[in-house]
Amino acid sequence: MNDIVMIASVILILTGMTAAIFNRDPFDKLISLSVLIAGVFPFIVERGFLDVAIAIALIAPLSTIFTLMVCRRVQV
């Protein structure tokens, strides 16, 4: 992989992880978690697992939607 793209993905993963750990609001945590997931995808595509990437790209939002079923009435 390119160095610049790799460094950008690593920065995405690290910032998303730190923000997801240290935020206290559930919505902020979910947003930071999706930044982390965005950083993982260039690594999967770079290995050439395109079918796995397609499936995980459609599976990963379901986890967030399931989690939103719990945190809806707590915050609003």
């Binding site: 920065i11 999706s34 930044v35 397609i54 459609l58 939607i65 939103l68």
Partner: protein, 94 residues
């Protein structure tokens, strides 16, 4: 596949677009974590997912990458829509 024979992948136009996508992704991620309001984070999250879609589409010279980019685009848009809609309170039940 005919385009790859003419344009070399290792240097040239592809690389500039890829670098621009990477820089935009990093900038938007930094804006996401420095923003205070939870609703203002969502447009920058969309920018992150657009930039990553561009990276996925441009990274490998393979015809199936466009399908992967489309799948990621659909998934991330659905996710951020669900977060925004839940934050706004959802549908009013009759």
């Amino acid at each position: 596949m005919a385009l790859e024979d003419q344009v070399p992948v290792v240097a040239g136009v592809h690389m500039i677009a890829l670098y621009i996508c990477a820089v935009i992704a990093v900038y938007a991620a930094l804006r996401v974590i420095t923003e205070r309001n939870s609703m203002r984070k969502l447009p920058f999250l969309n920018v992150v997912s657009f930039a990553v879609t561009g990276i996925i589409a441009l990274l490998l010279p393979h015809p199936l990458t466009i399908a992967a980019a489309a799948a990621y685009f659909v998934g991330s848009t659905l996710e951020s829509n669900a977060i925004a809609s839940t934050w706004a309170g959802g549908l009013k039940r009759p």
